[in-house]
């Protein structure tokens, strides 16, 4: 994170902490720099740090009338209620499985696509194909869900038109628990393949051409070059991206699940964040929902820090 040297201008000197020096610093440019930084500071304070403080309601019986401070403490009661509830295991399983399958299928596809694209002669054709694959990334989750609802509609969608045309029976895909994860992962791969491949495509184009030329002299075939030059060339990037993604294993984006699930598919679709929304916002059990959310945050924190630590040791690359 920290890369700038203090070489330019009047950087921090040994005198930095002498009394009066800080006042001179403020006068010189410090005041203005702090003024520039003020909106950012306020934003993080109000919308990140105050909610972090507010999370103590997870250990209280929060009542809007009493406020955070005067609401009574209850310790870990809400957590215990959650761990004992029939939802706990189901939410944990669904959250994990949905993000695990997303990673399992969503992670390799952009790499394969980048490797194939790298083999295609014709600069213009390559860039057109690559640009087309970005498009789904910029479409809103609501529209992606809308595409699924219309294409899979049991009464008039074209998928079921094919199914019945082949003599099958129309399937109400979005009300079948067995289909939920498949549809979630498939639409995710579709939406993110092109965008996710950018970093690999860039990595592949940075590989030294001489390596390929030398391999040609040695009579290496195309697959051989892909396997022995292209893939190792982006391996550090792959490892880094994998570790960072592993850190997010217990986070499932709220939006797409919320838009695609319904009471018929809770069994396979309900995840921690959607449960927090239902119990907290819809049923206004603020403290209980905050506890469930905090549980998820802590698990994520542990995973992120752990995998980030491994990443830093293995690839000298980390989030910070």
């Amino acid at each position: 994170m920290e890369t700038t040297g203090g070489k330019t201008g009047s950087g921090r000197t040994a005198a930095a902490h002498r009394p009066g020096e800080f006042r001179r610093y403020l006068k010189r440019r410090g005041f203005l720099l702090y003024l520039f930084f003020l909106p950012v500071a306020l934003y993080y304070l109000v919308f990140h740090y105050v909610p972090m403080y507010g999370v103590i309601i997870a250990f209280k019986d929060f009542s809007p009338f009493l406020g955070i401070l005067r609401s009574p403490w209850v310790g870990f009661e809400h957590f215990l209620t959650f761990f004992r509830s029939i939802y706990f295991f189901r939410l944990l399983r669904n959250t994990f499985l949905i993000s695990f399958y997303s990673l399992l299928f969503g992670f390799p596809v952009p790499i394969l696509f980048a490797l194939l694209l790298n083999e295609l002669p014709g600069r213009r054709l390559r860039s057109i194909i690559q640009s087309l694959t970005y498009v789904p990334h910029f479409v809103s989750t609501v529209v992606v869900a809308g595409l699924l609802y219309t294409f899979l509609s049991p009464s008039a969608g074209f998928v079921n038109a094919i199914v019945t045309g082949l003599g099958g029976k129309a399937v109400d895909f979005l009300r079948e628990p067995a289909w939920f994860r498949f549809l979630y992962v498939l639409s995710g791969v579709w939406q993110q393949m092109g965008w996710g491949s950018i970093i690999y495509v860039a990595g592949l184009s940075a590989i030294d051409v001489q390596l390929y030329e030398a391999a040609d002299m040695d009579g290496a075939g195309r697959l051989r070059k892909m396997w022995s030059i292209s893939l190792p060339g982006i391996l550090p990037t792959i490892v880094t991206m994998l570790l960072l993604n592993l850190g997010r294993l217990m986070t499932v984006g709220f939006e797409k699940v919320f838009l695609l699930y319904n009471s018929a598919t809770y069994e396979t679709a309900d995840v921690i964040s959607t449960y927090v929304y239902r119990s907290g916002i819809m049923e206004q059990q603020y403290s209980f929902a905050a506890a469930v959310g905090l549980f998820n945050s802590v698990v994520t924190l542990v995973l992120l820090t752990g995998f980030n630590w491994i990443s830093r040791r293995m690839s000298e690359f980390s989030l910070w």
Binding site: F37, H48, V50, I129
Partner: protein, 291 residues
């Protein structure tokens, strides 16, 4: 240049496979466009469309018979324009100060910002904060909580660090330019590329944003387009208002209506995309270089 394989057959197959993949990425949108202007009954019978069949604008007539979509569009425009303007000011000022070699406390501030990438209070405490600030059901509720994105702040900082040479700063200082003059007259003009990247990232973020509105807005008059889209596409709550005079083949008409709703929602993006996509990629690359 990479020495590409000379095998014509292999290259042909490769081009075909990649072409099909690219087609799979955009065909759903083409299908939606063709289906929205085709006869509903024909669409239901023929699964694949490569052009409109029995073209008709019936569904658009039904769609615009109620003004939901326009209200949503208007609100989304308001949020996107004002939100992005705020995003730009805050992010540029913050990115500049965090890139400044003589910004005291930088390490601590950066550390405190990075922490928020690892840990958050979660949905409920954020909701209570927004509620306590009296922002529920106010337009600011979908603007202020997303005033800065950490990723964008960091790529702005990297960009300024890499593109504003220290010598320039020294020279400006010798000439007696204040920090403010330097920022306005030197840094901003040299930051056009990052400004374009920020505008695109933030604006698409606002355009596609759905969750904040769901959480913080109850007043239907304030709903952005995406919330109305959910009602129309998924909950089908507004269909009756639009289709009150349609009696036969309702299911098919509902579907075609949904296609035309999606066209209205994605057309601006599809039109603008070819012209702006290189800036998106640029943004990713600035971020990737820095880590």
């Amino acid at each position: 240049m990479i020495p590409y394989g000379k095998d014509r057959v292999a290259n042909g197959i490769l081009a075909a496979v990649l072409g099909l993949m690219a087609l799979a990425m955009v065909y759903p949108f083409l299908y939606v466009m063709f289906a929205s202007v085709s006869d509903p009954l024909v669409v239901a019978r023929s699964p694949l469309l490569f052009w409109p069949k029995k073209p008709t604008l019936t569904s658009f007539r039904y769609l615009f018979s109620v003004n939901l979509v326009w209200i949503g569009y208007f609100n989304t425009l308001v949020y996107a324009v004002s939100g992005t303007a705020l995003n730009l000011v805050v992010t540029m000022l913050g990115g500049y100060s965090l890139a400044h070699p003589d910004f005291r406390g930088k390490r601590i501030f950066l550390f405190l910002i990075v922490i928020t990438m690892y840990f958050s209070g979660g949905m409920i405490p954020l909701f209570l904060v927004v509620k306590a600030l009296g922002l529920l059901d106010r337009r600011l509720a979908v603007i202020l909580p997303v005033a800065v994105s950490t990723w964008n702040l960091f790529i702005t900082r990297s960009y300024i660090e890499a593109n504003i040479p220290g010598e320039l700063r020294d020279a400006a200082e010798v000439d007696g330019a204040s920090e403010l003059t330097f920022f306005l007259r030197i840094v901003l003009p040299l930051s056009q590329a990052i400004l374009a990247v920020l505008i695109l990232f933030y604006a698409t973020g606002h355009w596609n944003s759905f969750f904040d509105a769901l959480l913080f807005l109850r007043d239907r008059k304030l709903y952005p387009l995406q919330v109305y889209l959910r009602e129309l596409l998924i909950m089908e709550t507004q269909m009756d208002a639009m289709l009150n005079d349609a009696v036969s083949d309702r299911a098919f008409l509902v579907l075609t209506l949904k296609y035309s709703i999606m066209v209205v929602a994605i057309l601006p993006l599809l039109v603008a995309f070819p012209f702006v996509q290189r800036y998106f990629v640029k943004g990713v690359m600035i971020g990737a270089l820095k880590g």
